[in-house]
Symmetry: C2
Subunit: 220 residues, 2 copies
DNA sequence: CGTACTTTTGAATCGCATCAAATCTGGTGG
DNA sequence: CCACCAGATTTGATGCGATTCAAAAGTACG
């Protein structure tokens, strides 16, 4: 059983008492989890490359990535790996809550911290707690909206239009303040960091963009 | 008010009585809508380029695209249009159900048919009807999973890897049966149709892929 | 102070977009 | 039934832009 090694709490004492203040700040998705459900959570520290579950395993937990990175992976017959989802924060494999068994593998692709909630208790809390349920619904709805926007963006074929799209969809009134490095931004835009740097430079030189540190504004 | 022209039913009689059998077949998302809510729906036929709502309008309806295409659009100061979401079937602007006003424009980008549900009744049905609520939640969760997979796919930089990813994530056991034209598939993969045709040809010639009409299988 | 990572620029290459055009296909109407 | 049309499919030639490999300079952190 893939999760066996996490069934006991092997955290140092100060870590097992999770700081929910900090968590809900960095992961807004966690803010709506009711007290009763928090009490049932397990905190797990992972190195890179550890397995969370394998395809076919019964669905036992809901997973929340607190830090690091976890990925859902399927292997093809050529031996290659296909990444279905990468999570650098927030829930992973939400859709599995409905199923009884996992349809792919999950591994930690970067070292970090995970929160585990028993699936039955999670489903039950969604059923019983109207506030949690409402929050969960709008969380999913927001996620859908955000992902749709990202798909539209990735369908654009030039770096410049992806940047413009990002500013329009993620920013306010033509201005975004990046909360991440440009290298990470490049990855989110589906570009190499070099391509992003060069595109930014070009657009700045054309005076279509104003960049001040992490504040990036489109010039009308 | 953008929706004014749809407030009366200007459909021919045979269209105003919507065929729910047909609808739930082509749009599984509609299958879970309870009878009481269906009774309140309005059917709207749209030409291309009609406005559903504008940014700032109060949220009055939930929209389900039955046929054709509707898009959420935001305009930037250069006069360009940025597509936030395109829907060729299923709900559009789900996330707006939570808000009181729309955060973007919506227009029909292809002629087709829409279903409108009063937002208040929709929210109420979600609250009252446990089955509808459960269905809605797993609908959203599935959508999130699907969109995450598509984002991962679009982050791949070659046509061949996108095809492989599609087969692994959408297919079963390395086989997909396309329900759409290759041109439409190309658009979903973020490629031009020419690039898709050529990539398919290359992979077939390398004997990594078996194509029989709409049945496409990866060769181990 | 050194190490790891990000930021930045350069040069060469490759793959996709683009424009063009021919063929094939399904469906419509004469 | 055939002519015809719109759209999908397929192949070709060309150019551009992103990737890739390489390397230098800047920056954060212990």
């Amino acid at each position: 059983m893939a999760l066996h090694r996490y069934d006991r709490d092997h955290m140092p004492p100060d870590k097992s008492a999770l700081n929910w203040e900090e968590l809900t700040f960095s992961q807004p998705s966690a803010a709506l989890i009711p007290e009763s459900l928090r009490a049932l959570s397990k905190v797990v520290e992972l190195a890179a490359g550890e397995t969370l579950f394998r395809i076919g395993d019964p669905v036992g937990h809901a997973f929340l990535v607190f830090s690091g990175e976890a990925s859902l992976i399927r292997r093809d017959r050529q031996g290659g790996e296909v990444i279905l989802q990468r999570s650098r924060g927030g829930f992973i494999a939400e859709a599995s809550l409905d199923s009884s068994a996992y349809h792919c593998d999950a591994v930690s692709t970067k070292p970090g911290t995970l929160l585990l909630f028993p699936a039955a208790a999670f489903r039950n809390a969604l059923e019983e707690d109207a506030l949690f349920r409402k929050g969960w619904q709008s969380l999913l709805a927001r996620e859908v909206r955000k992902l749709r926007a990202q798909c539209e963006r990735l369908n654009l074929h030039s770096a410049a239009s992806r940047i413009a799209h990002y500013i329009e969809s993620e920013g306010v009134d033509g201005v975004v303040t990046l909360a991440q490095s440009r290298k990470a931004w490049a990855a989110e835009l589906g570009l190499t960091h070099e391509a992003l740097y060069r595109a930014l430079r070009r657009i700045q030189d054309a005076e279509m963009l104003a960049v001040q540190g992490n504040r990036i504004a489109s010039v009308p």
